[in-house]
Protein backbone atom coordinates (compact mmCIF):
# COMPACT_ATOMS: atom_id res chain seq x y z
CA UNK A 1 0.00 0.00 0.00
CA UNK A 2 1.48 3.37 -0.96
CA UNK A 3 1.13 6.47 1.24
CA UNK A 4 -1.91 7.85 -0.62
CA UNK A 5 -3.72 4.49 -0.31
CA UNK A 6 -2.72 4.43 3.36
CA UNK A 7 -4.19 7.95 3.69
CA UNK A 8 -7.53 6.82 2.21
CA UNK A 9 -7.54 3.82 4.53
CA UNK A 10 -6.78 6.00 7.58
CA UNK A 11 -9.56 8.43 6.63
CA UNK A 12 -12.02 5.52 6.43
CA UNK A 13 -10.82 4.23 9.80
CA UNK A 14 -11.30 7.67 11.39
CA UNK A 15 -14.86 7.89 10.07
CA UNK A 16 -15.73 5.24 12.68
CA UNK A 17 -16.13 7.37 15.79
CA UNK A 18 -16.79 5.99 19.29
CA UNK A 19 -20.43 5.89 20.45
CA UNK A 20 -19.55 8.03 23.43
CA UNK A 21 -18.84 10.92 21.06
CA UNK A 22 -22.57 11.10 20.22
CA UNK A 23 -23.30 12.39 23.72
CA UNK A 24 -20.60 15.02 24.03
CA UNK A 25 -23.20 17.80 23.88
CA UNK A 26 -25.34 16.14 26.55
CA UNK A 27 -22.30 15.87 28.81
CA UNK A 28 -21.53 19.57 28.27
CA UNK A 29 -25.13 20.51 29.08
CA UNK A 30 -25.05 18.32 32.17
CA UNK A 31 -21.78 19.82 33.36
CA UNK A 32 -23.15 23.32 32.92
CA UNK A 33 -26.37 22.42 34.71
CA UNK A 34 -24.42 20.99 37.63
CA UNK A 35 -22.42 24.19 37.76
CA UNK A 36 -25.59 26.29 37.75
CA UNK A 37 -27.30 24.09 40.29
CA UNK A 38 -24.38 24.72 42.56
CA UNK A 39 -25.28 28.41 42.41
CA UNK A 40 -28.87 27.85 43.44
CA UNK A 41 -29.73 27.89 47.09
CA UNK A 42 -33.18 27.26 48.50
CA UNK A 43 -34.17 28.05 52.05
CA UNK A 44 -37.72 27.47 53.22
CA UNK A 45 -39.35 29.48 55.96
CA UNK A 46 -41.79 27.79 58.34
CA UNK A 47 -45.18 27.12 56.77
CA UNK A 48 -48.09 29.29 57.68
CA UNK A 49 -46.83 32.67 56.55
CA UNK A 50 -48.58 32.30 53.20
CA UNK A 51 -52.01 31.74 54.72
CA UNK A 52 -52.13 35.28 56.06
CA UNK A 53 -51.99 36.90 52.62
CA UNK A 54 -55.40 36.43 51.06
CA UNK A 55 -56.47 39.93 50.16
CA UNK A 56 -57.11 40.78 46.52
CA UNK A 57 -55.56 44.01 45.39
CA UNK A 58 -54.07 45.72 42.37
CA UNK A 59 -52.02 48.87 42.42
CA UNK A 60 -52.03 51.28 39.55
CA UNK A 61 -48.31 51.38 39.16
CA UNK A 62 -48.08 53.73 36.20
CA UNK A 63 -48.54 56.79 38.37
CA UNK A 64 -45.31 56.06 40.24
CA UNK A 65 -42.54 58.70 39.88
CA UNK A 66 -40.09 55.83 39.31
CA UNK A 67 -41.92 54.92 36.12
CA UNK A 68 -41.61 58.48 34.88
CA UNK A 69 -37.90 58.33 35.66
CA UNK A 70 -37.50 55.02 33.84
CA UNK A 71 -39.35 56.35 30.81
CA UNK A 72 -37.06 59.37 30.74
CA UNK A 73 -34.06 57.03 30.53
CA UNK A 74 -35.65 54.82 27.91
CA UNK A 75 -32.70 54.71 25.46
CA UNK A 76 -30.57 53.23 28.23
CA UNK A 77 -33.02 50.34 28.60
CA UNK A 78 -32.20 49.01 25.13
CA UNK A 79 -29.44 46.79 26.48
CA UNK A 80 -31.82 45.48 29.12
CA UNK A 81 -34.56 44.82 26.54
CA UNK A 82 -32.07 42.79 24.49
CA UNK A 83 -30.90 40.87 27.56
CA UNK A 84 -34.41 39.79 28.59
CA UNK A 85 -35.60 39.02 25.04
CA UNK A 86 -36.00 35.30 25.84
CA UNK A 87 -38.21 35.90 28.88
CA UNK A 88 -41.75 36.88 27.79
CA UNK A 89 -42.66 38.27 31.24
CA UNK A 90 -39.51 40.35 31.75
CA UNK A 91 -39.70 41.61 28.14
CA UNK A 92 -43.22 42.83 28.78
CA UNK A 93 -42.03 44.48 31.99
CA UNK A 94 -39.29 46.38 30.11
CA UNK A 95 -41.68 47.33 27.28
CA UNK A 96 -43.99 48.78 29.91
CA UNK A 97 -41.15 50.65 31.65
CA UNK A 98 -41.62 48.51 34.74
CA UNK A 99 -37.95 48.91 35.66
CA UNK A 100 -36.29 50.61 38.60
CA UNK A 101 -32.90 52.07 37.60
CA UNK A 102 -30.37 51.69 40.42
CA UNK A 103 -27.07 53.18 39.20
CA UNK A 104 -25.03 51.72 42.09
CA UNK A 105 -21.29 51.20 41.59
CA UNK A 106 -18.45 49.82 43.67
CA UNK A 107 -14.82 48.98 42.97
CA UNK A 108 -12.68 46.48 44.85
CA UNK A 109 -9.35 44.93 43.91
CA UNK A 110 -9.51 46.50 40.43
CA UNK A 111 -12.97 45.08 39.69
CA UNK A 112 -15.95 47.40 39.26
CA UNK A 113 -19.47 46.09 39.83
CA UNK A 114 -22.46 48.17 38.75
CA UNK A 115 -26.02 47.31 39.72
CA UNK A 116 -27.80 48.93 36.79
CA UNK A 117 -31.49 48.01 37.14
CA UNK A 118 -33.90 45.87 39.07
CA UNK A 119 -37.27 44.46 38.06
CA UNK A 120 -39.00 43.74 41.33
CA UNK A 121 -42.51 42.98 42.50
CA UNK A 122 -44.18 41.51 45.56
CA UNK A 123 -42.55 38.09 45.11
CA UNK A 124 -39.57 38.26 42.79
CA UNK A 125 -36.50 40.42 42.33
CA UNK A 126 -34.35 40.41 39.19
CA UNK A 127 -31.06 42.25 39.63
CA UNK A 128 -29.21 43.29 36.45
CA UNK A 129 -25.54 44.12 36.96
CA UNK A 130 -22.18 44.24 35.21
CA UNK A 131 -18.61 43.43 36.20
CA UNK A 132 -15.63 45.17 34.66
CA UNK A 133 -11.89 44.74 35.10
CA UNK A 134 -8.72 45.69 33.24
CA UNK A 135 -7.05 42.54 34.60
CA UNK A 136 -9.64 39.78 34.15
CA UNK A 137 -11.58 38.80 31.03
CA UNK A 138 -14.16 36.34 32.33
CA UNK A 139 -15.50 36.90 35.80
CA UNK A 140 -18.38 35.35 37.67
CA UNK A 141 -20.07 36.29 40.95
CA UNK A 142 -21.74 34.24 43.67
CA UNK A 143 -24.47 36.31 45.35
CA UNK A 144 -25.33 36.26 49.06
CA UNK A 145 -28.72 37.76 49.89
CA UNK A 146 -29.50 39.12 53.34
CA UNK A 147 -31.89 41.63 54.88
CA UNK A 148 -31.19 45.40 54.84
CA UNK A 149 -29.34 45.15 58.18
CA UNK A 150 -27.44 42.10 56.80
CA UNK A 151 -29.22 39.69 59.15
CA UNK A 152 -30.29 36.29 57.82
CA UNK A 153 -33.26 36.25 55.47
CA UNK A 154 -35.36 33.13 54.87
CA UNK A 155 -38.01 31.77 52.54
CA UNK A 156 -36.43 32.54 49.18
CA UNK A 157 -34.55 30.92 46.31
CA UNK A 158 -31.68 32.44 44.36
CA UNK A 159 -30.67 31.66 40.81
CA UNK A 160 -27.55 33.15 39.36
CA UNK A 161 -26.80 31.48 36.03
CA UNK A 162 -23.46 33.19 35.61
CA UNK A 163 -20.86 30.91 34.02
CA UNK A 164 -18.50 33.84 33.38
CA UNK A 165 -19.33 36.73 31.11
CA UNK A 166 -17.11 39.28 29.44
CA UNK A 167 -16.60 42.78 30.79
CA UNK A 168 -19.56 45.18 30.75
CA UNK A 169 -22.09 42.49 29.71
CA UNK A 170 -25.30 42.43 31.73
CA UNK A 171 -25.81 39.56 34.17
CA UNK A 172 -28.87 38.60 36.19
CA UNK A 173 -29.60 37.36 39.69
CA UNK A 174 -33.15 36.20 40.48
CA UNK A 175 -34.40 36.16 44.08
CA UNK A 176 -37.84 34.59 44.50
CA UNK A 177 -39.87 34.28 47.68
CA UNK A 178 -41.70 30.96 48.01
CA UNK A 179 -43.33 32.22 51.18
CA UNK A 180 -43.55 35.78 52.46
CA UNK A 181 -43.20 38.92 50.39
CA UNK A 182 -40.45 41.15 49.09
CA UNK A 183 -38.96 43.47 51.72
CA UNK A 184 -38.55 47.19 50.92
CA UNK A 185 -34.78 46.78 51.02
CA UNK A 186 -32.18 44.04 51.10
CA UNK A 187 -28.45 43.53 50.77
CA UNK A 188 -26.72 41.66 47.99
CA UNK A 189 -23.10 40.74 48.46
CA UNK A 190 -21.20 39.71 45.32
CA UNK A 191 -18.26 37.34 45.75
CA UNK A 192 -16.39 37.82 42.47
CA UNK A 193 -14.27 34.98 41.08
CA UNK A 194 -12.53 34.07 37.87
CA UNK A 195 -14.86 31.85 35.89
CA UNK A 196 -14.09 28.13 35.96
CA UNK A 197 -13.53 28.15 32.18
CA UNK A 198 -11.10 31.08 32.39
CA UNK A 199 -9.26 29.42 35.24
CA UNK A 200 -8.98 26.15 33.34
CA UNK A 201 -7.34 27.93 30.40
CA UNK A 202 -4.64 29.30 32.63
CA UNK A 203 -3.76 26.27 34.69
CA UNK A 204 -2.36 22.85 33.95
CA UNK A 205 -4.64 20.31 35.59
CA UNK A 206 -3.16 17.13 37.09
CA UNK A 207 -3.32 13.95 34.98
CA UNK A 208 -6.75 12.34 34.91
CA UNK A 209 -7.76 8.79 34.29
CA UNK A 210 -10.12 8.68 31.31
CA UNK A 211 -12.76 6.08 31.90
CA UNK A 212 -16.33 5.60 33.08
CA UNK A 213 -14.85 5.83 36.53
CA UNK A 214 -13.57 9.38 36.06
CA UNK A 215 -16.67 10.37 34.09
CA UNK A 216 -19.19 9.38 36.74
CA UNK A 217 -17.07 9.44 39.86
CA UNK A 218 -15.07 12.63 39.35
CA UNK A 219 -12.87 14.15 42.00
CA UNK A 220 -14.68 16.94 43.78
CA UNK A 221 -14.01 20.23 42.03
CA UNK A 222 -12.54 22.99 44.14
CA UNK A 223 -14.19 26.39 44.13
CA UNK A 224 -12.34 29.22 42.35
CA UNK A 225 -10.84 31.72 44.78
CA UNK A 226 -12.79 34.90 45.58
CA UNK A 227 -10.86 37.90 44.26
CA UNK A 228 -13.20 40.75 45.26
CA UNK A 229 -16.25 41.27 47.45
CA UNK A 230 -18.78 44.07 47.11
CA UNK A 231 -21.92 44.67 49.12
CA UNK A 232 -24.87 46.65 47.72
CA UNK A 233 -27.79 48.01 49.74
CA UNK A 234 -30.81 47.81 47.44
CA UNK A 235 -33.82 49.98 48.29
CA UNK A 236 -36.96 49.37 46.30
CA UNK A 237 -39.70 51.77 45.37
CA UNK A 238 -42.78 50.53 47.33
CA UNK A 239 -44.81 51.05 44.16
CA UNK A 240 -42.95 48.03 42.76
CA UNK A 241 -42.74 45.83 45.84
CA UNK A 242 -46.46 46.23 46.48
CA UNK A 243 -47.36 45.21 42.95
CA UNK A 244 -49.24 41.98 42.59
CA UNK A 245 -52.70 40.50 42.54
CA UNK A 246 -53.58 37.52 44.72
CA UNK A 247 -56.81 35.80 43.81
CA UNK A 248 -58.09 33.47 46.50
CA UNK A 249 -59.82 30.50 44.90
CA UNK A 250 -60.00 27.59 47.37
CA UNK A 251 -61.33 25.56 44.45
CA UNK A 252 -61.52 21.84 45.15
CA UNK A 253 -61.42 19.48 42.16
CA UNK A 254 -60.69 15.88 41.22
CA UNK A 255 -57.79 15.17 38.89
CA UNK A 256 -57.27 11.59 37.76
CA UNK A 257 -59.00 10.25 40.89
CA UNK A 258 -57.04 12.44 43.36
CA UNK A 259 -58.65 15.35 45.22
CA UNK A 260 -56.73 18.60 45.01
CA UNK A 261 -57.47 22.21 45.73
CA UNK A 262 -56.26 25.26 43.85
CA UNK A 263 -55.80 27.63 46.78
CA UNK A 264 -54.79 30.75 44.92
CA UNK A 265 -53.62 32.30 41.69
CA UNK A 266 -51.09 35.10 41.99
CA UNK A 267 -50.35 37.53 39.18
CA UNK A 268 -47.15 39.58 39.30
CA UNK A 269 -45.31 41.47 36.55
CA UNK A 270 -42.44 38.93 36.60
CA UNK A 271 -44.56 35.78 36.62
CA UNK A 272 -47.86 34.15 37.56
CA UNK A 273 -48.06 31.33 40.09
CA UNK A 274 -50.63 28.79 41.21
CA UNK A 275 -50.63 27.37 44.73
CA UNK A 276 -52.19 23.91 45.10
CA UNK A 277 -52.72 21.62 48.05
CA UNK A 278 -53.63 17.96 48.33
CA UNK A 279 -55.55 15.78 50.78
CA UNK A 280 -54.19 13.22 53.18
CA UNK A 281 -56.57 10.60 51.79
CA UNK A 282 -55.11 10.89 48.29
CA UNK A 283 -53.23 7.76 47.24
CA UNK A 284 -50.69 9.72 45.17
CA UNK A 285 -48.75 12.96 45.35
CA UNK A 286 -48.85 15.31 42.36
CA UNK A 287 -45.26 15.79 41.19
CA UNK A 288 -45.84 17.43 37.82
CA UNK A 289 -48.54 19.24 35.93
CA UNK A 290 -49.13 20.12 32.28
CA UNK A 291 -51.16 23.28 31.94
CA UNK A 292 -51.61 26.67 30.33
CA UNK A 293 -53.68 29.78 30.94
CA UNK A 294 -55.68 31.54 28.26
CA UNK A 295 -57.34 34.96 28.32
CA UNK A 296 -60.46 36.17 26.51
CA UNK A 297 -58.31 37.31 23.57
CA UNK A 298 -56.96 33.81 23.02
CA UNK A 299 -53.48 34.73 24.35
CA UNK A 300 -51.77 31.77 26.04
CA UNK A 301 -49.42 31.90 29.01
CA UNK A 302 -47.28 28.78 29.42
CA UNK A 303 -45.19 27.40 32.29
CA UNK A 304 -41.79 29.00 32.97
CA UNK A 305 -39.21 26.97 31.08
CA UNK A 306 -36.07 28.96 31.87
CA UNK A 307 -35.80 29.92 35.52
CA UNK A 308 -37.62 29.06 38.73
CA UNK A 309 -40.55 26.87 37.61
CA UNK A 310 -42.09 25.81 40.93
CA UNK A 311 -41.69 24.78 44.54
CA UNK A 312 -42.25 21.54 46.38
CA UNK A 313 -44.40 21.25 49.49
CA UNK A 314 -42.48 21.17 52.75
CA UNK A 315 -41.90 17.60 53.99
CA UNK A 316 -43.76 16.09 51.03
CA UNK A 317 -42.85 14.99 47.50
CA UNK A 318 -45.80 17.07 46.22
CA UNK A 319 -45.04 19.92 43.81
CA UNK A 320 -47.13 22.69 45.35
CA UNK A 321 -46.42 25.90 43.45
CA UNK A 322 -46.23 26.20 39.67
CA UNK A 323 -44.95 29.32 37.90
CA UNK A 324 -45.90 30.53 34.45
CA UNK A 325 -45.38 33.54 32.20
CA UNK A 326 -47.24 36.59 33.39
CA UNK A 327 -50.49 38.02 31.99
CA UNK A 328 -49.94 41.14 34.15
CA UNK A 329 -49.52 43.59 31.24
CA UNK A 330 -52.01 41.85 28.95
CA UNK A 331 -55.04 43.71 30.35
CA UNK A 332 -56.89 40.40 30.59
CA UNK A 333 -60.44 40.58 31.89
CA UNK A 334 -60.79 36.81 32.13
CA UNK A 335 -58.21 34.09 32.69
CA UNK A 336 -58.86 30.35 32.46
CA UNK A 337 -56.56 27.52 33.56
CA UNK A 338 -56.48 24.36 31.43
CA UNK A 339 -54.86 21.29 33.04
CA UNK A 340 -54.02 18.74 30.34
CA UNK A 341 -51.86 16.20 32.15
CA UNK A 342 -50.29 15.26 35.46
CA UNK A 343 -47.49 13.17 36.90
CA UNK A 344 -48.11 11.23 40.11
CA UNK A 345 -46.01 9.50 42.73
CA UNK A 346 -47.99 6.73 44.41
CA UNK A 347 -47.58 6.93 48.17
CA UNK A 348 -46.45 3.30 48.42
CA UNK A 349 -43.54 4.14 46.09
CA UNK A 350 -41.93 6.94 48.11
CA UNK A 351 -38.87 4.71 48.44
CA UNK A 352 -38.21 1.52 46.49
CA UNK A 353 -35.81 -1.28 47.36
CA UNK A 354 -33.22 -2.07 44.67
CA UNK A 355 -31.06 -5.19 44.71
CA UNK A 356 -27.85 -4.01 43.08
CA UNK A 357 -26.20 -7.40 42.83
CA UNK A 358 -29.12 -9.17 41.16
CA UNK A 359 -30.29 -6.09 39.24
CA UNK A 360 -33.88 -6.18 40.48
CA UNK A 361 -36.16 -3.51 41.96
CA UNK A 362 -39.36 -3.93 43.96
CA UNK A 363 -41.03 -1.26 41.83
CA UNK A 364 -39.99 1.19 39.13
CA UNK A 365 -41.67 4.26 37.63
CA UNK A 366 -43.92 3.59 34.64
CA UNK A 367 -41.90 3.01 31.46
CA UNK A 368 -38.60 2.61 33.35
CA UNK A 369 -36.42 -0.51 33.07
CA UNK A 370 -33.36 -1.41 35.13
CA UNK A 371 -30.72 -1.89 32.42
CA UNK A 372 -27.54 -2.55 34.38
CA UNK A 373 -25.65 -2.15 37.64
CA UNK A 374 -21.88 -2.30 37.76
CA UNK A 375 -19.67 -2.14 40.80
CA UNK A 376 -16.77 0.32 40.77
CA UNK A 377 -14.10 0.63 43.41
CA UNK A 378 -15.86 3.58 44.98
CA UNK A 379 -19.47 2.59 44.45
CA UNK A 380 -22.03 1.52 41.86
CA UNK A 381 -23.04 2.81 38.45
CA UNK A 382 -26.70 2.11 37.65
CA UNK A 383 -28.26 2.46 34.21
CA UNK A 384 -32.00 2.78 33.56
CA UNK A 385 -33.94 3.23 30.36
CA UNK A 386 -37.10 5.34 30.48
CA UNK A 387 -39.93 6.44 28.22
CA UNK A 388 -40.31 10.19 27.76
CA UNK A 389 -43.74 11.73 28.35
CA UNK A 390 -43.31 14.69 26.08
CA UNK A 391 -40.31 14.07 23.84
CA UNK A 392 -37.86 15.30 26.46
CA UNK A 393 -35.68 13.47 28.97
CA UNK A 394 -36.82 13.96 32.55
CA UNK A 395 -35.73 13.22 36.08
CA UNK A 396 -36.82 9.76 37.22
CA UNK A 397 -35.22 9.74 40.70
CA UNK A 398 -35.40 12.41 43.36
CA UNK A 399 -32.21 13.43 45.12
CA UNK A 400 -31.07 11.25 47.98
CA UNK A 401 -30.81 7.49 48.44
CA UNK A 402 -30.72 5.36 51.56
CA UNK A 403 -28.96 2.29 52.95
CA UNK A 404 -30.52 -0.48 55.06
CA UNK A 405 -30.00 1.58 58.22
CA UNK A 406 -31.90 4.53 56.70
CA UNK A 407 -28.79 6.69 56.32
CA UNK A 408 -29.21 9.25 53.56
CA UNK A 409 -26.66 9.79 50.76
CA UNK A 410 -26.80 12.50 48.07
CA UNK A 411 -26.10 12.16 44.37
CA UNK A 412 -23.10 14.15 43.18
CA UNK A 413 -24.22 14.00 39.58
CA UNK A 414 -26.14 11.94 37.09
CA UNK A 415 -26.45 12.00 33.34
CA UNK A 416 -28.99 11.13 30.70
CA UNK A 417 -29.16 10.87 26.95
CA UNK A 418 -31.54 12.66 24.65
CA UNK A 419 -34.80 10.96 23.68
CA UNK A 420 -34.36 8.51 20.81
CA UNK A 421 -30.74 7.64 21.60
CA UNK A 422 -31.56 3.94 21.99
CA UNK A 423 -33.07 3.99 18.50
CA UNK A 424 -29.92 5.60 17.16
CA UNK A 425 -27.83 2.97 18.95
CA UNK A 426 -29.54 0.25 16.96
CA UNK A 427 -32.74 -0.68 18.79
CA UNK A 428 -35.29 -0.74 15.99
CA UNK A 429 -38.51 -0.91 18.00
CA UNK A 430 -40.98 1.95 17.66
CA UNK A 431 -40.90 2.41 21.45
CA UNK A 432 -37.16 3.13 21.35
CA UNK A 433 -37.88 6.40 19.54
CA UNK A 434 -39.38 7.79 22.75
CA UNK A 435 -36.83 6.34 25.15
CA UNK A 436 -33.75 7.70 26.84
CA UNK A 437 -31.11 6.33 29.21
CA UNK A 438 -30.06 7.63 32.59
CA UNK A 439 -26.91 6.77 34.52
CA UNK A 440 -26.93 7.07 38.28
CA UNK A 441 -23.64 6.87 40.18
CA UNK A 442 -23.80 5.83 43.84
CA UNK A 443 -20.47 7.20 44.98
CA UNK A 444 -18.66 5.66 47.96
CA UNK A 445 -21.50 3.17 48.42
CA UNK A 446 -20.22 -0.33 49.29
CA UNK A 447 -23.53 -2.15 49.90
CA UNK A 448 -25.39 -4.55 47.58
CA UNK A 449 -28.84 -3.02 48.14
CA UNK A 450 -30.15 0.53 48.13
CA UNK A 451 -33.44 2.40 48.56
CA UNK A 452 -34.07 4.93 45.79
CA UNK A 453 -36.75 7.66 45.71
CA UNK A 454 -38.74 7.77 42.45
CA UNK A 455 -39.67 11.19 41.08
CA UNK A 456 -42.95 9.71 39.83
CA UNK A 457 -44.88 6.47 39.47
CA UNK A 458 -47.00 7.26 36.45
CA UNK A 459 -48.07 9.97 34.06
CA UNK A 460 -51.49 10.69 32.64
CA UNK A 461 -52.55 12.80 29.68
CA UNK A 462 -56.17 13.84 30.15
CA UNK A 463 -58.68 13.16 27.36
CA UNK A 464 -60.62 16.19 28.53
CA UNK A 465 -58.75 19.05 30.23
CA UNK A 466 -59.71 20.16 33.72
CA UNK A 467 -60.87 23.77 33.27
CA UNK A 468 -60.79 26.28 36.14
CA UNK A 469 -61.93 29.88 35.81
CA UNK A 470 -59.37 32.12 37.51
CA UNK A 471 -61.13 35.44 36.92
Amino acid sequence: MNRNEEYDSLLAELEETPLKLDFTLERALLKRREHRRHMQKTVFAPLGTLAAVFAVFVLLVNISPTFAYAAGRLPLLRDLAKFVAFSPSLSEAVDNNYVQPMGLEQTANGITAKVEYVIVDQKQLNIFYTLNSDTYENLMADPDISSADESKLEGFSVISGDPGETNDKLRKITVDFAQGTMPDALTVKLRVKKSRAAEAENTVAPPQESSLESLYFPNDETEPETIAEMSFALKFDPAFTDTGEIITLDHSFVLDGQTLSLDSAEIYPTHMRFVFDDEEDDTSWMTGLEFYVENEKGERFEGISNGISGYGKKDSPMEQQFMLESPFFSESKHLTLYITGATWLDKDMERVHVDLKNKTADALPEGVAFASSEKYYSGWLLKFTATAFDKISCQIWRDGYFDAQGKRYDFNNYSFTSVGSLYQEGSTTEAAKNQFSIWLPLKNYPYDEVWLCPAYSRHVTLDTPVIIEIK
Binding site: L10, L14, P18, L21, A28, N138, P207, Q208, S210
Partner: protein
Amino acid sequence: MNENEFAAQVQLLRGGLYRTAYLYLGAEADALDAVDEAVYKGLISCKKLREPQYFATWMTRILINECKNELRRRKRTVSVPELPETAAEEFDALPLKDAVFRLPQDLKEPVILRYFSGLTTKETALALEIPQGTAATRLKRALKLLRLDFLEEDVFDEPK
Protein backbone atom coordinates in the same frame (compact mmCIF):
# COMPACT_ATOMS: atom_id res chain seq x y z
CA MET B 1 -24.58 32.53 18.30
CA ASN B 2 -27.36 31.22 20.50
CA GLU B 3 -27.33 27.82 22.24
CA ASN B 4 -29.70 26.14 19.79
CA GLU B 5 -27.47 27.13 16.88
CA PHE B 6 -24.45 25.98 18.85
CA ALA B 7 -26.06 22.59 19.55
CA ALA B 8 -26.94 22.08 15.89
CA GLN B 9 -23.48 23.11 14.66
CA VAL B 10 -21.58 21.07 17.19
CA GLN B 11 -23.47 17.90 16.21
CA LEU B 12 -22.26 18.42 12.64
CA LEU B 13 -18.70 19.21 13.65
CA ARG B 14 -18.12 16.63 16.39
CA GLY B 15 -16.68 13.96 14.04
CA GLY B 16 -14.08 16.41 12.71
CA LEU B 17 -13.25 17.56 16.22
CA TYR B 18 -12.76 13.97 17.34
CA ARG B 19 -10.47 13.18 14.37
CA THR B 20 -8.40 16.27 15.16
CA ALA B 21 -8.06 15.36 18.83
CA TYR B 22 -7.37 11.70 18.07
CA LEU B 23 -4.52 12.44 15.66
CA TYR B 24 -3.22 15.14 17.98
CA LEU B 25 -3.20 12.97 21.09
CA GLY B 26 -3.03 9.44 19.66
CA ALA B 27 -5.55 7.87 22.09
CA GLU B 28 -9.34 7.53 21.87
CA ALA B 29 -10.08 8.25 25.54
CA ASP B 30 -7.89 11.36 25.60
CA ALA B 31 -9.46 12.56 22.36
CA LEU B 32 -12.99 12.15 23.79
CA ASP B 33 -12.00 14.04 26.93
CA ALA B 34 -10.54 16.88 24.90
CA VAL B 35 -13.67 17.10 22.71
CA ASP B 36 -15.91 17.05 25.81
CA GLU B 37 -13.99 19.88 27.42
CA ALA B 38 -13.91 21.90 24.21
CA VAL B 39 -17.67 21.48 23.68
CA TYR B 40 -18.33 22.53 27.29
CA LYS B 41 -16.17 25.64 26.92
CA GLY B 42 -17.81 26.39 23.57
CA LEU B 43 -21.28 26.03 25.12
CA ILE B 44 -20.64 28.47 27.94
CA SER B 45 -19.13 31.09 25.66
CA CYS B 46 -21.02 30.62 22.36
CA LYS B 47 -22.91 33.88 22.87
CA LYS B 48 -19.60 35.67 22.32
CA LEU B 49 -19.26 34.23 18.82
CA ARG B 50 -20.74 37.02 16.73
CA GLU B 51 -19.93 35.61 13.29
CA PRO B 52 -21.27 32.07 12.97
CA GLN B 53 -19.31 31.44 9.76
CA TYR B 54 -16.21 31.17 11.96
CA PHE B 55 -17.78 28.47 14.18
CA ALA B 56 -15.55 25.65 12.85
CA THR B 57 -12.31 27.59 13.25
CA TRP B 58 -13.38 28.94 16.65
CA MET B 59 -14.24 25.49 18.00
CA THR B 60 -11.06 24.04 16.48
CA ARG B 61 -9.00 26.67 18.26
CA ILE B 62 -10.64 25.81 21.60
CA LEU B 63 -10.00 22.10 20.93
CA ILE B 64 -6.35 22.63 20.04
CA ASN B 65 -5.86 24.48 23.33
CA GLU B 66 -7.38 21.50 25.13
CA CYS B 67 -5.07 19.12 23.25
CA LYS B 68 -2.07 21.26 24.15
CA ASN B 69 -3.14 21.21 27.80
CA GLU B 70 -3.30 17.42 27.62
CA LEU B 71 0.16 17.21 26.03
CA ARG B 72 1.55 19.48 28.77
CA ARG B 73 0.05 17.12 31.35
CA ARG B 74 1.66 14.16 29.63
CA LYS B 75 5.09 15.72 29.71
CA ARG B 76 4.97 15.03 33.43
CA THR B 77 4.42 11.34 32.77
CA VAL B 78 5.29 9.61 29.48
CA SER B 79 5.27 11.08 26.01
CA VAL B 80 6.35 9.95 22.56
CA PRO B 81 8.88 12.50 21.26
CA GLU B 82 8.46 14.38 17.99
CA LEU B 83 10.84 13.50 15.18
CA PRO B 84 12.84 16.33 13.58
CA GLU B 85 12.27 17.27 9.93
CA THR B 86 15.67 15.76 9.11
CA ALA B 87 14.50 12.27 10.14
CA ALA B 88 13.05 11.39 6.71
CA GLU B 89 13.92 7.69 6.98
CA GLU B 90 12.26 7.31 10.36
CA PHE B 91 9.08 8.92 9.00
CA ASP B 92 9.12 6.54 6.01
CA ALA B 93 9.32 3.55 8.34
CA LEU B 94 6.30 4.55 10.38
CA PRO B 95 2.64 3.83 9.56
CA LEU B 96 0.97 7.05 8.39
CA LYS B 97 -1.00 7.54 11.62
CA ASP B 98 2.16 7.32 13.73
CA ALA B 99 4.09 9.48 11.30
CA VAL B 100 1.47 12.24 11.59
CA PHE B 101 1.51 11.90 15.37
CA ARG B 102 5.30 12.36 15.48
CA LEU B 103 5.51 15.35 13.14
CA PRO B 104 6.95 18.54 14.62
CA GLN B 105 4.03 20.45 16.14
CA ASP B 106 4.12 23.34 13.65
CA LEU B 107 3.66 20.81 10.81
CA LYS B 108 1.35 18.39 12.60
CA GLU B 109 -1.32 20.99 13.36
CA PRO B 110 -1.94 22.18 9.77
CA VAL B 111 -1.86 18.62 8.38
CA ILE B 112 -4.47 17.37 10.83
CA LEU B 113 -6.79 20.32 10.30
CA ARG B 114 -6.41 20.46 6.51
CA TYR B 115 -6.36 16.76 5.57
CA PHE B 116 -8.24 14.98 8.36
CA SER B 117 -10.68 17.46 9.89
CA GLY B 118 -12.16 18.92 6.74
CA LEU B 119 -11.00 22.54 7.04
CA THR B 120 -9.84 24.52 4.02
CA THR B 121 -6.33 25.95 3.99
CA LYS B 122 -7.80 29.38 4.78
CA GLU B 123 -9.75 27.99 7.75
CA THR B 124 -6.67 26.07 8.89
CA ALA B 125 -4.69 29.30 8.90
CA LEU B 126 -7.48 31.08 10.81
CA ALA B 127 -7.76 28.31 13.39
CA LEU B 128 -4.02 28.34 13.97
CA GLU B 129 -3.86 32.13 13.82
CA ILE B 130 -1.10 32.10 11.21
CA PRO B 131 -0.98 33.71 7.73
CA GLN B 132 -2.45 31.59 4.95
CA GLY B 133 0.91 31.56 3.12
CA THR B 134 2.61 30.18 6.22
CA ALA B 135 -0.02 27.47 6.51
CA ALA B 136 0.49 26.51 2.86
CA THR B 137 4.27 26.36 3.27
CA ARG B 138 3.98 24.15 6.36
CA LEU B 139 1.52 21.87 4.58
CA LYS B 140 3.94 21.39 1.69
CA ARG B 141 6.80 20.57 4.08
CA ALA B 142 4.60 18.11 5.98
CA LEU B 143 3.33 16.39 2.83
CA LYS B 144 6.90 15.96 1.66
CA LEU B 145 7.90 14.32 4.94
CA LEU B 146 4.85 12.06 4.91
CA ARG B 147 5.38 11.27 1.20
CA LEU B 148 1.79 12.15 0.46
CA ASP B 149 1.36 13.00 -3.15
CA PHE B 150 -1.45 15.58 -3.28
CA LEU B 151 -1.94 18.08 -6.05
CA GLU B 152 -0.84 21.65 -5.49
CA GLU B 153 -4.47 22.86 -5.51
CA ASP B 154 -5.26 20.52 -2.62
CA VAL B 155 -3.10 22.75 -0.47
CA PHE B 156 -4.91 25.92 -1.48
CA ASP B 157 -8.47 24.96 -2.31
CA GLU B 158 -11.29 22.90 -0.89
CA PRO B 159 -10.79 20.13 1.67
CA LYS B 160 -9.97 16.69 0.36
